[in-house]
C-alpha cells in the first residue's frame, strides 16, 4: 500500500481540524455499517459486519470444557482475532500476527471482565454446567476479510451481533450418586436452546489522534497517520469496561478524560444503532427461513 504524500497528509489533517473528513463525515461520526447474521451455519452463532470497507466475520462456537481452576462456578469466554490474507498481501503468512495478537488482547481486556467474572460481557455463571467439572466455553473468533481501518470497533460490533445469534443447546445432568458426576444428556432439538444475553456486551469506540484532534472510526488512510489512539469499551449502562492506548506518541492526561467522555457519548449512540441493526438483521433472517 503506497503511503500518503505530504500534500495529502496536510489535506487530511486540515480537513479533520475543520471537522470535515475526506469522506464528508464529522469527527465523531461513524461510517454506516450493515450486519448479517448466521452466516456460518456450523457455528453456534455468527455475524458479518461491514463497516465501510472494513469487512469482518465473527463466529461463536460453544463447546464443553473445564472451568477455570480458580473459579469453578464460571464458564469461559475465549477471544481471538485472525487477519485473513484476503485483506492484503501485507497480511499473508505471518504478516498479520502482531496486529491480530494486539487486537485480540484488546478485545479480551474489554470483554473478559474482572478475574472473578464480574463485569464480563456475558454472564459466565450461566455457562456453568457442572460446577468444577464441566462448563460451556464460548470461543469467539474474528476473521478480518478486508481491513480499512477501525478493525477493533468492527470486531466488537461483530461479536455482539454473533452473541445475539448464538444458540447453546440445553444439557441436562442426569442424577449421579453421591459426588459422582452424572451423565450429560443432550437435548438435540435446535429450538430448545438457550440464548445468550447480550445486554452487558460492550462496544468499543476507538478515538484516533491525528494532528491535534481526535476522530472516531478512522479509515485506513487516517489510521496510517495516527500518532496515538485510545480504544474505550462502553456498555449499555454507560460504564467503561476497558481502555487501551495504542500508538507511540504520548497523550496529555487532561485530554484523556475528555476523550473518555466523548467516547461514552459516541458509544451510547453507537449501541442504539447496533441494536437496531441487529434486530433488522434478525427479522431478515426470520423472513428467509
Amino acid at each position: 500500500m503506497p503511503g500518503l504524500s505530504a500534500a495529502e497528509l496536510s489535506f487530511l489533517e486540515g480537513g479533520i481540524a475543520q471537522d470535515l473528513r475526506n469522506d464528508g463525515r464529522g469527527r465523531e461520526d461513524f461510517r454506516s455499517f450493515s450486519i448479517q447474521l448466521d452466516v456460518i451455519s456450523q457455528a453456534s452463532g455468527s455475524a458479518r459486519v461491514r463497516l465501510g470497507a472494513t469487512d469482518i466475520l465473527a463466529s461463536i462456537k460453544a463447546e464443553l470444557g473445564s472451568p477455570p481452576a480458580e473459579f469453578p462456578h464460571l464458564g469461559r469466554l475465549e477471544l481471538a482475532v485472525e487477519i485473513s490474507p484476503t485483506a492484503g498481501p501485507e497480511f499473508e503468512g505471518r504478516g498479520g500476527e502482531e496486529l491480530s495478537a494486539e487486537l485480540g488482547k484488546a478485545l479480551e481486556r474489554s470483554f473478559a471482565g474482572g478475574a472473578n467474572g464480574t463485569g464480563a460481557a456475558v454472564d459466565l455463571a450461566a455457562l456453568s454446567v457442572v460446577e468444577g467439572k464441566t462448563c460451556w466455553v464460548l470461543y469467539a473468533d474474528v476473521l478480518v476479510l478486508n481491513a480499512d481501518g477501525n478493525i477493533l470497533d468492527a470486531s466488537a460490533i461483530g461479536i455482539k451481533a454473533a452473541l445475539s445469534n448464538t444458540r447453546i443447546p440445553k444439557v441436562e445432568v442426569l442424577a449421579g450418586e453421591g459426588d459422582e458426576e452424572g451423565e450429560l444428556e443432550l437435548n438435540d432439538d435446535p429450538d430448545e436452546c438457550a440464548r445468550v444475553s447480550t445486554a452487558a456486551v460492550p462496544l468499543i469506540v476507538t478515538l484516533t489522534k491525528v494532528g491535534r484532534h481526535y476522530i472516531a472510526d478512522a479509515t485506513g488512510d487516517e489510521e496510517a497517520q495516527m500518532s496515538s489512539a485510545l480504544s474505550v469499551a462502553v456498555n449499555e449502562k454507560g460504564q467503561l469496561c476497558g481502555v487501551t492506548k495504542r500508538g507511540s506518541a504520548g497523550i496529555d492526561p487532561s485530554v484523556i478524560s475528555d476523550m473518555l467522555s466523548v467516547a461514552r457519548r459516541i458509544g451510547k449512540r453507537l449501541l442504539a444503532k447496533v441494536d437496531a441493526e441487529i434486530s433488522l438483521a434478525e427479522s431478515r433472517l426470520e423472513s428467509e427461513t
Binding site: V39, I40, S41, Q42, A43, S46, A53, D55, L57, S59, K61, E63, A80, E82, S84, P85, T86, A87, G88, P89, E92, G93, R94, E97, Y139, D141, L143, L145, N146, A147, D148
Partner: protein
Amino acid sequence: MEYVSPEGLRLDGRRPKEVRQLKCELAVLHRADGSAYLEMGNTKVLATVYGPHEVSQRSQSLHDRALVHCEYSMATFSTGERRRRPKGDRRSVELSLVIRQSMEAAILTHLLPRTQIDIYVQVLQADGGTRAACINAATLALADAGVPMRDLVASCAAGYLNGTPLLDLNYVEDSAGGPDLTVALLPKAEKVTLLQMDSKLPLDTFEAVLGLAMDGCKAIAAHMRQALLEHTRKQAVVRGPVRL
C-alpha cells in the same frame, strides 16, 4: 452404512451424478483487484486476487513471466470442531501449492513478465470438496481481476461408495473411507491440470469415476461462465452506456 439407497438417493437426497447447489458472487471485496465468493453446498470459500503488481522480493522476479503466489488458509471455525490452525502447517502448504499449480496452467503468465500475482483463498466453512471449491473460487477471482487466462479452471471431486461412482462428495460421504478423486479441468481444451486421489480403486472403476468427475467439472465450468457473464452484464448496466 448405506450411502446410496436402493432407490438411488444419497444421504442428502441427491442422485449419484448430481452436484450440490452452487452459488457464486463476484467482486465482494473492493480493496482487492479481484475477489469471488463461492458456495458448494455447505462449503463456503472466499478468494481474492492482488495483482498483477511489482514483485515484493526482487530476487524472485522472473524475467519472462509472472510469478504466481498462492496462500490457502482455513478459518478456525470452518470445521465442525474448532481447531486452532498454525500458519504454515503441512496441509495448508500443500493445498497452496496445489492451487498455485492449477492456476498457473491457466494464467497467460508470459504476458506479464516481472510481475507478481497473489491469490489468497480463505475457507469460511468446510463440508467436503474444499479443494475443488478453492480452485473454482480462485478462477472466478482471477477473472474478476482481469488477469488473462487461457481458460477457466473448473474443479470437482468424485468418489466411489456402495458400488456407485458419486459426484461431489460432502463431508459425511468423504469420511466414509472410500476413494476420493479431485480433478481440475480446463474445460474448453479438456486438459486436466490437477488429479489427486487417495485410497484404492480398481482400474476400470477408476476410469468411470474420472469420467464422472470430468463431467462434473464441465457442468461447474458452465455455471461459472454464466455467473461471470451475469456479473459483467450488471457492471455494464451500472456503468452506464449499455442499456439492456
